[in-house]
């Protein structure tokens, strides 16, 4: 029997709502898929789309972007900006051959530990169904080095 594929998922959470929701899930001993690894930002608006692309390039099979519910943003309206970027980014990733199902936007308030846990588990299963992204990490590293080396000027 083949070993079950365990996807690696990077989750970007905002300091005020979704990170607290994850905290809440932890404090409430709510179980959710261990595949997601969270990175805390102050606001979902801080999410530079580069981070998501770097995550995929670095070997993540899925990326979760999470923030406060629309209208509840600690910084008034920055999650709307995150939302706009999200849809553009999703379009871009699709064009680059990454399935849209690998990127997920989740609104979770600080009280919604259960919702956060349920959604993370659901997302993990979805990514598991999609399979590994098949990114060669060494190739990625080489590509990155090439970018940093000054290109030879052809006379």
């Amino acid at each position: 029997m083949s070993e079950q594929f365990e996807p690696v998922i990077i989750g970007f959470t905002c300091n005020w709502c979704s990170y607290r929701a994850a905290d809440m899930a932890g404090m409430g001993r709510i179980k959710y898929a261990p595949n997601v690894r969270l990175i805390r930002l102050m606001c979902s608006g801080r999410l530079d789309p580069t981070f998501v692309i770097k995550a995929f390039a670095g070997g993540a099979d899925g990326v979760l972007v999470s923030g406060c519910h629309p209208g509840d943003c600690h910084y008034i309206e920055q999650n709307y900006k995150a939302m706009r970027r999200f849809y553009l980014l999703k379009k871009l990733l699709t064009q680059m051959g990454i399935e849209p199902g690998r990127l997920k936007l989740l609104w979770a308030s600080a009280a919604e530990g259960q919702i956060f846990a349920d959604e993370v588990t659901k997302f993990t299963e979805e990514v598991r169904a999609l399979g590994p992204l098949h990114w060669n990490p060494t190739a990625a590293l080489e590509a990155e080095q090439k970018i940093h080396e000054p290109a030879e000027v052809v006379a």
Binding site: V8, M42, R46, A55, I76, K81, T138
Partner: protein
């Protein structure tokens, strides 16, 4: 201090009595707010005017308070300790330096108009008016939309009779700009428009009253002199139904509890029985009497013989179906304690309508750079531990602007906001979170993309150097501009690109099994 209701008055007095100057802005011609419209206050039934008007006078004559009534805040810029606030003083058409508040103009003015604000549409005022006799400030205003002179160019009766020549038809809106350190918002509430529930017949059936209409009806200084009568102005009702939770605790309108309606309805029930001897039917969903002395008041009402029916009213109609219902309003409801439908014929219905956020809450939130909840109440910094501060440093909220609450709670919150303001003044220095964005001016190309990103207006563009700059006092550290900068010129302390990418690398290391780390 924006808003001159009881919460605003309390906060202004606390700050002014501590020896600091206060500028108070009120939209209506007089301060006092909704409380000035009431006759009695629950649960002690003491007269609202008796406890409110001395406070109003104190604010009006306080040496530390500069009062702008009939005025609005039109622009706010700056940050804590350094706000610039522009106040628009609407043209009163009355020179306040000359006016003595004698009231002759109001007597002589031939034009009577329905007062939709203070009298809740039940009574009249003149085109030149103060909303009520105890108004602070005492100077009247001319309502230019209704004044005969402004409509037709003749009349000028008020000008003719004014003993000091204070009437000035040529006055124009004036703008004042003040430097203030901190701002308290106590902008209050609007009443739910019961016309939105058509089956309750408000606006269609004459004898269905809203709660504010009843407040004016029962007020001794109101349009009927405190006589509780039907819309015809003479008939005393023999039976009255009071409906709780109109437009609140109802997912079709407002999901929240308006907090004051149960007690207000009990007060109405008491006043109706005391003044008319009518049978009173209270239709409630749940009785909520959680504060000091409130439950005792409920028990008193039960003993007085008011009927309490637990059930939400389905319909109020004038279509009689059974003998005895002719000419009456029939309240159709289910008594959920008995499990039976019932029809109660009454002469008068009072709808205890919900408190709603001010209709212009969005503009207010935008103007002051604070956020509001889904319903429109202004959001406090923390629902339990910081109920008067907002996410914007130096701006505080008090009273019903923050959520529905009764007078004692509004006063408490006003006092709390004042304490925070005074505390901050006495600190002299401000501690802030270290998370901030900063712009590397050598890298900045001056594209101005970040300028519109910031909801706190922390980023400004320096014209002569063609670069943008972050004001660290305003920046809250969300980092949206950092993510947006195409040149990578903006960096965030604590949450820099390098820090986040390093975290990313660390987290993904598990996955990089292909690299062989053993030395060859």
């Amino acid at each position: 201090m924006v808003g001159g209701g009881i919460a605003g008055i309390q906060a202004a007095l606390e700050v002014a009595n501590s020896g600091y100057p206060v500028i108070m802005v009120e939209r209506e011609p007089s301060i006092g707010g909704h409380m000035a419209q009431f006759d009695k206050t629950f649960p002690t039934l003491d007269c609202a005017a008796c406890i409110l008007t001395p406070r109003m006078v104190e604010v009006g004559s306080h040496p530390n308070v500069k009062l702008f009534s009939y005025a609005e805040v039109t622009n706010v810029s700056g940050y804590v300790g350094n706000f610039q606030v522009t106040i628009k003083q609407k043209a009163r058409s009355v020179n306040t330096d000359l006016c003595t508040g004698c009231g002759i103009c109001q007597e002589k003015c031939p034009k009577k108009v329905i007062d939709p604000v203070f009298e809740a549409g039940l009574g009249y005022r003149k085109a030149v008016y103060t909303p009520f006799p105890q108004a602070v400030p005492k100077y009247p205003v001319i309502d230019r939309e209704n004044c005969t002179y402004f409509l037709k160019g003749t009349c000028r009766a008020c000008e003719k009779f004014c003993p000091t020549g204070a009437i000035d038809f040529t006055q124009e809106d004036e703008y004042f700009t003040f430097d203030v350190g901190q701002i308290i918002l106590a902008t209050g509430w609007d009443l739910f428009d019961a016309r939105r529930i058509p089956q309750y017949g408000y606006g269609r059936l004459a004898n269905v009253f809203s709660s504010l209409e009843f407040e004016r009806l029962s007020n001794a200084a109101g349009p009927t002199g405190g006589k509780i009568v039907l819309r015809d102005g003479v008939t005393v009702p023999k039976s009255v139904a009071i409906i709780h939770c109109v437009g609140s605790r109802d997912k079709n309108y407002n999901p929240y509890c308006s907090a004051i309606c149960c007690m207000q309805s009990l007060k109405f029930a008491h006043l109706v029985r005391e003044r008319t001897g009518a049978e009173v039917y209270n239709f409630y969903i749940d009785m909520r009497t959680p504060a000091k002395g409130y439950e005792e008041f409920y028990q008193r009402l039960l003993e007085e013989g008011t009927h309490f029916i637990r059930g939400k009213v389905a319909e109020i109609t004038d279509a009689a179906r059974y003998p005895g219902e002719e000419g009456k309003l029939i309240v159709q409801a289910e008594n959920t304690l008995v499990g039976k439908q019932m029809r109660v014929p009454v002469d008068m219905v009072i709808l205890s309508a919900a408190l709603e956020p001010r209709h212009d809450f969005k503009e207010v939130a935008r103007l002051f750079g604070i956020s509001c909840s889904e319903e429109g109440w202004l959001i406090e910094r923390h629902p339990k531990l910081d109920p008067v501060a907002t996410m914007t440093e130096g701006i505080y909220i008090a009273g019903c602007a923050q959520g529905p609450k009764d007078i004692p709670a509004s006063v408490a919150q006003g006092t709390a906001a004042a304490a925070r303001v005074v505390g901050k003044i006495q600190q002299k220095e401000i501690t802030m979170e270290p998370i901030r964005a900063s712009i590397d001016q050598d890298k900045c190309s001056g594209c101005r993309i970040c300028n519109n990103m910031c909801p706190f207006n922390a980023i400004s563009f320096i014209e002569d150097r063609m670069v943008s700059e972050v004001n660290p006092a305003l920046c809250q550290g969300c980092g949206t501009c950092v993510a947006a900068c195409p040149a990578g010129a903006i960096s965030g302390t604590v949450f820099s690109d390098q820090a986040i990418l390093a975290q990313l690398d660390g987290l993904l290391l598990n996955n990089v099994k292909a690299i062989d780390l053993t030395p060859a």
